[in-house]
Amino acid sequence: MKRTFFVRLNARPHERTVAASLCEARWLRCAAHPPCVGVASRVAATGLLLFASLCAAADWKIAEPGWRYEFPRDHHAHRDFKTEWWYFTGNIFDADGHRFGYELTFFRQGITPFAERDPKSSRFIVDDLKFAHFALTDVSKQTFRFEQKTSRGAFGEAGFDDGKRLAWIENWTLATNGDDAFDLMASSEAGTIHLHLRATKPPVVHGENGISVKAAAVRYASHYYSIPRMQTTGEFFANGKSHPFRGESWFDHEWASGQLAENQVGWDWICLQWEDGTELMLYQMRLENGEPDASSSGTWIAQNGETTHLRSSDFRMTPIAFWKSKASGAKYPISWRVTLAGQQTEFVVRAAVENQELALGPITYWEGAIDASGTRHGRAIKGRGYLELTGYAGPLRELSR
């Protein structure tokens, strides 16, 4: 039972500056070893890494119950684990009130287990593959741009966790600024964005007992926390002018050595920041037969930061509108009706812009800004957030069983 996943890290032709690196070597690919039947981890991230990582080699640490989260320690890299990402999404507004959505994600994909690394070996040897995605949605103009960067990092131009910077690839950086604040920077052809994020809520750990379980067997899991609301300010520099921004961001940090389960074809993930000061994260793993996996779950976060873990039986997500991509041919459910029966909550989410597809190859995915409105305990609620849809553009996994 050998299977292989591909992750294509390639940009569209005009995006080559970004993707030039992974360049023609476009595939990230890994064949699962027989013993490590997979589990997908979460969800929030595009999970590219999980696809890529697939093999939980014995040398990598496995996410196990009982992890004690500690901050700011856990903001930093966890190099004993094979896969890790720092995932920022947010809805921000310029001085004229125009709305924008952004996504900036740094991925770490371990190649050589930490214990086996030789600090004296060639600096060109890559112990961690480093790559990042940056996407910007202009809601008023209904446009969407995305880019990818990757680098060997042989000369320190890319890396993880040098104390202040948590991750960086050339001039895309994620740096800590005190215990509960982060500075982000990313450049594209259009300009450079600087964002300063300050947590207005404490970190929220997802799942139970310190792990977010991905499949029936507990050992296939990840460590996963979010800072669900971060006050965001910043500037966008373009053509010699600076445009100030203000808004709210969501930060996800997840690390694991697990993988996607064999019968899972993709997932749908939602994060929402409600106007009443609460937040919601939901994901559902989709099975080959179209049904959600029983390991799907979510977290409701109260104003005071208290969390309620949601099991798959606690919620239902029903697609109500679709958008078909001309680039990939994929048909994405960009609007959903979500029911949380136990919480007397029902709402509808809609994409702020239809086309927020990152056409990056076989695992092309959709990740974009959304609006939500509905009722909770009989009262109207409204919110904004991000939606992630994977596994719709052709086969998510190219398998060689």
Partner: protein
């Protein structure tokens, strides 16, 4: 023409193979930074230099395979993160056809191989192969397939792996082999180079990759010109043949010419008729030649590549490159030579007087006997010889070197011009001898006497046949004398210089040249072994002298190794060699770089340019580009590098070389990591290489001789058809069929003897030009002339024998001819 074309194709294929190698490695780079020890930390600075649009680092090296004897790979360590704008090939996964980046970067020793290499050794994905480098075996894993992008030629000796693991494999942590660059604006190149120099180490070179191809083209130029010149001999021999054929046709059809002329056909039209015919036939020949040449090229390409690899650069001719232009060129030359050689006979035909042409009793005369070998021929012949002498002088004193070939041409021309008067004299002389013999011993030599007379009657045509054969013989003689002299000279040189008892080198160096080093422990073992008196180390280095790369041999220098210096006191020079900052250079090197004793050369050391004086010039026959020797002490001092490629061991008296080899093998070479040559076996090996070098030469010579002998066969066949009436008359007046055959064989034998004698004489002259002029001028080698007397003495015998064999069939047919038919017109 086929030979000429084949040689061109073979040469071109070798050059292209090398250029393809350069293209493959350099990819689409516009500039390349190289240095013997390029620190990797230069890379970010280079990449950030203004005007650079893309930069990628490269680490490369050669490995051999204990499990695949004589196989090697040039492994390119590439950086897939930065080399996309440069790449001419793609590493791809075996099954999916795309690169699995994690696996590419991941486990050590994962390598991408060409499909051809994989097929040749029946490898599959995941197989482990042992690769040998610096006498240590490393495990590589077959991980990927190399697919060429656009470029059709992917040398199977190329492999790629991630640059990080390549650095580890080749032990080059911290170092790069090259940085390849693309420019934002190619016209800005000079500024960029200036900027780069500011951040690069002093001994780095910034060049366009194409320059490397140019350098090699230049280096191979002399060698390939030699081959081309030799292939032209076949063409010249062929021209003689065409001349003969057309002349015969004119003679045979004089009656027809007469009729045509009386019917009002102009001289111009007659000429056009014969030229036209020649061209039509020539076209046919050209097509045959092109086909034959292509076939022959496949045969030659391998030999040429082998010679180039053993002498110059490692090159693998994977396929014969057929270029339209080389066909067009060869075709033009072929057709051109047809027209040139048919011109004179066609002219003669045009000049025939219609009345004389139609006259019944007209015999051979009009065309052939009209010729009377006046003294002009002597003078012209001698003039050509004088010209050959002056060109030789010019080639040696002022150049250009190709004047040597002009000299060789005039030697051949001179003897060709001397053939008619010589043949005339010979005919007269032989006639006298045979007449005298007849008086004494009856009719025994009537046929011979007649044959001698016939020789001068058809003087011009016979002369051409003789000249053609003589030219081929001359080439054979000239080249064999040259090779023989060369061999003798090298033998003498080896006796003086190759005096160590044992030579030890990494086995891989036998396959890929001096790329591996001897571990210090092995050197130490040999140095301190009780049977060893002393050792000498050898390091083959490529150093920069200005913009050029030169070969430098770094030796510890033993007192027992003798350089033969051209001038000066050897002992004093050697003292300077050891004690001062200097080099000694080979004769070829001195010639190439216009150096004299006491001059100095500027070598680029890692710390900047340094002056090294030339302490002496010595005779050396290892490289035609020349070589400089430097003491190990100086090399370590300036280049901070003490690695050695091979060791020469001098034993104590009565010590056993065999015992030392055994001990060394047991300690260091259990799996054949080293080759150990005894003095004797190294000599044998050197001469193997020597003979390999001249293998191509022999192929070309053999072809020239075959063409010439075919010429005799053809000439005689025509001769008999043409002289059928005359021969019939002879039969009618009582000559037996046997006598006719004897007559013809006598004629053939005389042609053979004359050709052999003239060929020998001109061959000896030619050998003077080849050894004394061409080799000196092109390669700067002093070769002491020596003659292989025995084989020279045999030459006339086999020439005459070959001529007789060629004459057998025509003579036999002449004996069987039907009298009445041939006499009808009489």
């Amino acid at each position: 023409m086929a030979v000429y074309l084949a040689t061109q194709i073979a040469n071109h294929s070798a050059n292209r193979a090398f250029a393809a190698t350069v293209d493959l490695v350099a990819g689409k780079a516009e500039l390349e930074v190289t240095s013997p020890h390029l620190p990797e930390t230069s890379f970010p600075m280079v990449a950030a230099t203004n005007g650079i649009s893309a930069a990628t680092p490269i680490v490369r090296g050669l490995v051999t395979f204990p499990d695949f004897p004589s196989e090697y790979l040039e492994i390119l360590g590439i950086d897939v993160f930065t080399n996309a704008p440069f790449r001419t090939f793609d590493p791809a996964s075996f099954d999916a056809g795309e690169l699995d980046l994690l696996r590419w970067l991941g486990p050590p020793g994962s390598i991408a191989l060409s499909e051809e290499f994989v097929a040749r050794h029946h490898l599959k994905a995941g197989d482990k192969i042992r690769a040998r480098l610096n006498v240590i075996d490393h495990n590589l894993r077959v991980g990927f397939i190399l697919r060429s992008k656009g470029a059709p030629i992917l040398d199977s000796h190329f492999a790629a792996m991630d640059i990080g693991w390549a650095q580890e494999l080749f032990g080059r942590r911290g170092e790069l082999s090259a940085i390849q660059l693309r420019l934002t604006n190619p016209r800005d190149r000079d500024n960029v180079v200036t900027e780069l120099r500011k951040v690069l180490p002093k001994d780095s070179k910034v060049t366009a990759p194409a320059q490397r191809t140019e350098e090699v083209d230049k280096m191979l130029g002399g060698f390939e010109l030699n081959l081309s010149a030799m292939s032209l001999v076949s063409l010249v021999v062929g021209m003689f043949l065409i001349y003969n054929t057309v002349s015969a046709s004119v003679a045979r059809r004089r009656h027809e010419i007469g009729i045509l002329r009386s019917l009002g056909v102009t001289r111009l039209e007659v000429r056009a008729l014969f030229l036209g015919e020649a061209i039509v036939l020539g076209l046919f020949g050209v097509v045959l030649g092109l086909v034959g040449g292509t076939l022959l090229a496949r045969l030659l390409a391998g030999a040429v590549a082998e010679t180039i690899s053993s002498l110059y650069v490692l090159v693998n001719v994977k396929q014969v490159v057929l270029e339209p232009w080389s066909f067009a060129f060869a075709g033009t030359i072929g057709l051109g030579s047809v027209i040139v050689s048919a011109w004179l006979p066609a002219q003669a035909a045009a000049n025939l007087e219609p009345v004389r042409a139609l006259h019944g009793s007209f015999q051979e005369g009009a065309l052939w006997n009209a010729f009377n070998p006046s003294s002009t021929w002597w003078w012209n012949g001698l003039l050509c010889l004088a010209l050959a002498g002056s060109f030789s002088f010019l080639a040696l004193s002022t150049g250009p070197p190709w004047l040597g070939f002009a000299a060789a041409f005039f030697v051949l021309a001179s003897f060709s011009l001397l053939v008619p008067p010589l043949a005339f004299r010979f005919s007269a002389g032989a006639g006298k001898v045979f007449r005298a013999l007849r008086r004494h011993r009856g009719k025994a030599a009537v046929e011979a006497e007649l044959a001698a007379a016939n020789l001068s009657r058809a003087l011009m045509r016979n002369s051409v046949t003789i000249a053609a054969l003589a030219a081929a013989v001359a080439m054979t003689v000239g080249v064999s004398v040259m090779v023989f002299s060369f061999r003798r000279t090298v033998e003498a040189w080896i006796n003086d210089t190759l005096v160590a008892d044992l030579f030890v080198a990494p086995a891989s160096n036998e396959i890929v040249g001096p790329s591996s080093f001897i571990p210090p422990a092995a050197v130490h073992f040999l140095e301190t072994h009780p049977a060893v008196e002393t050792i000498d180390t050898f390091r083959d280095a490529e150093l920069s002298m200005g913009a050029e790369t030169i070969a430098v041999a770094v030796v510890r220098g033993s007192e027992r190794r003798h350089f033969q210096f051209v001038r000066g006191n050897g002992a004093a020079i050697m003292r300077r060699f050891h004690d001062e900052v200097c080099v000694v250079v080979s004769e070829a090197f001195a010639r190439h770089h216009h150096l004299r004793d006491g001059d100095s050369i500027e070598l680029i050391t890692p710390d900047g340019a340094g002056q090294f004086s030339v302490a002496g010039i010595f005779y050396d026959y290892t490289r035609d580009q020349g070589i400089a020797y430097m003491s190990e002490r100086n090399f370590i001092r300036f280049w901070h590098d003490d690695r050695v490629n091979s060791v020469a061991v001098y034993l104590k008296q009565n010590a056993s070389a065999e015992a030392l080899s055994k001990a060394f093998r047991a300690g260091f070479s259990r799996n054949g990591e080293f080759v150990i040559f005894s003095n004797q076996s190294l000599r044998v090996r050197i001469f193997e290489i020597f003979d390999q070098t001249f293998a191509v030469t022999y192929v070309l010579l053999t072809i020239a001789v075959i063409v010439a002998i075919t010429g005799i066969f053809l000439s005689l066949t025509i001769l008999i058809t043409e002289r059928s009436r005359e021969l019939a008359v002879l039969r009618a007046i009582g000559a037996s069929a046997g006598q006719i055959r004897k007559l013809l064989l006598w004629e053939t034998a005389m042609i053979g003897v004359l050709a052999a004698l003239v060929g020998l004489a001109s061959g000896v002259c030619l050998s003077l030009v080849l050894t004394g002029v061409i080799n000196r001028a092109f390669f700067g080698w002093t070769i002491r002339l020596a003659f292989p007397w025995r084989s020279l003495a045999v030459t006339p015998l086999w020439i005459v024998a070959a001529a007789l064999v060629a004459g057998l069939v025509p003579a036999w047919r002449a004996g069987r001819m039907i009298l009445a038919e041939n006499l009808r017109s009489e």
